[in-house]
Symmetry: C2
């Protein structure tokens, strides 16, 4: 089931996407799916970020090919993370499917996509085992961990490198029935495929991250965990359009524009 959050006029609601229609839901899907009799053509509503998390988690570096090839480029030794130590991103940066990524005026040309699987938590979780993790997942969506590499290398934190306004596209919706074991992540720039990797080929998997996190932190419904990206992304520039497709979920598409 595809759960979208959408706006129609001044009204914001959740809905179930079926074909080219969205069937409005009552209340929050995290408290139970209650369909209404109202439905609208998908083309006539504006999709919103499917959930605004209470805490926005990100795995960061989590694919070996990414580690090896980035090391080859920078001339440093490849050093994969030793443990599933999670990081954070910021809600101010979230934008929805089809909204524009705005490159700040003083950014360098080193602005890059990162196609990522996003896990959406469905139930309050503390001290859960790796086996139990799957019962606490509401579904999956797609994230673009857009980054300015010069700032990422030089700043003390990832604040503007990864959390400038519009740098975190997420959507288009949450798929509740997807299976991460069989997904591929495909990135296209202006329609041309630039990445294609097995989504589940992570250094630390979803179960390892969520179980370890839950030892110290309570995970809440609507919290999101971005799982990292593989390969080596390339620069994009204003005028480009980035599409991230994850099989079984959908396509997240965002144009890139320059700050005015």
């Amino acid at each position: 089931m595809k759960i979208a959050r959408f706006q129609r006029g001044n009204q914001v609601a959740y809905g179930v996407v079926e074909g080219d229609q969205v069937i409005e839901l009552e209340g929050s899907p995290f408290e139970g799916i209650r369909r209404t009799r109202r439905s609208y053509p998908l083309a006539q509503v504006k999709l919103l970020v499917p959930v605004v998390p209470s805490t926005f988690y990100a795995a960061g570096v989590n694919y070996m090919d990414h580690v090896r090839r980035m090391a080859a480029i920078t001339g440093r030794q490849a050093s994969p993370p030793k443990a599933a130590d999670v990081g954070y991103r910021a809600n101010n940066a979230l934008i929805a499917h089809e909204e524009a990524i705005v490159i700040p005026r003083d950014a360098t040309e080193r602005t890059q996509y990162e196609g990522e699987l996003v896990v959406v938590i469905g139930k309050k979780a503390k001290n859960i085992s790796e086996e139990e993790v799957w019962d606490y997942i509401f579904g999956y969506t797609i994230g673009n961990d857009f980054s300015e590499r010069t700032w990422q290398a030089g700043d003390r934190t990832h604040w503007r490198a990864k959390n400038s306004d519009t740098f975190k596209p997420m959507g288009p919706w949450i798929e509740t029935d997807a299976d991460p074991k069989n997904m591929r992540t495909i990135v296209r720039v202006n329609g041309q495929e630039v990445q294609n990797f097995a989504t589940n080929n992570m250094i630390f998997g979803i179960a390892q991250f969520m179980s370890r996190m839950s030892k110290y932190m309570t995970l809440y419904p609507g919290d999101v965990l971005w799982m990292g990206t593989d390969g080596v992304p390339e620069n994009v520039k204003p005028g480009d359009v980035i599409e991230i497709e994850i099989s079984g979920i959908g396509v997240l598409r965002n144009p890139v524009v320059a700050e005015k």
Copy 2:
């Protein structure tokens, strides 16, 4: 004016604290203070975290004495931050005044308080000058950036070192009329003063941080910015009670307990 968020039975509301009473407000104080005729003895309500931010910002290292003395302890060279690059903390870790900080079972004995001034954003802000910053502040509260130093030194991120559940006490309320120029931050453990510093003696001040942040990020009402701590904190252990007082705001008090 002291703005608290409180619970009474199952009801959660904002209120204005006057003496030993809290006068209930209608709606959110970020949209305008509307007093009701209902008031309760402060002793008969439970204070909550005064605001749950959309994004939880933290200055991190931001006092020279802290930089110098920590360097002397670790034997490394003192390296103050070069720019007001902001960091992040996580909402799962927030607790209110009087709630217990729970030390995880596998934490080392190196668990420490950090008394911090917290700025609460009052208005949506983007691209504001250092002079304009003050118009965008709703008020000030107190934070304890509680930390496990072994994890802080060894983990890839500050996830459990600073964001384990209960590691971010914040409160007791938001003071809208305080002046950061004249504040002192005083930390007491079991009633004994262990720190006393000029709150405003920061490497990068509130105006520098907020103006620089707003160049890349939209700040939203209710977002919080923790300003860092001075000096060198000492270890605390289960059974201890930590009080952080900032003049003009109040006292944030939290007992420390061991995870069961």
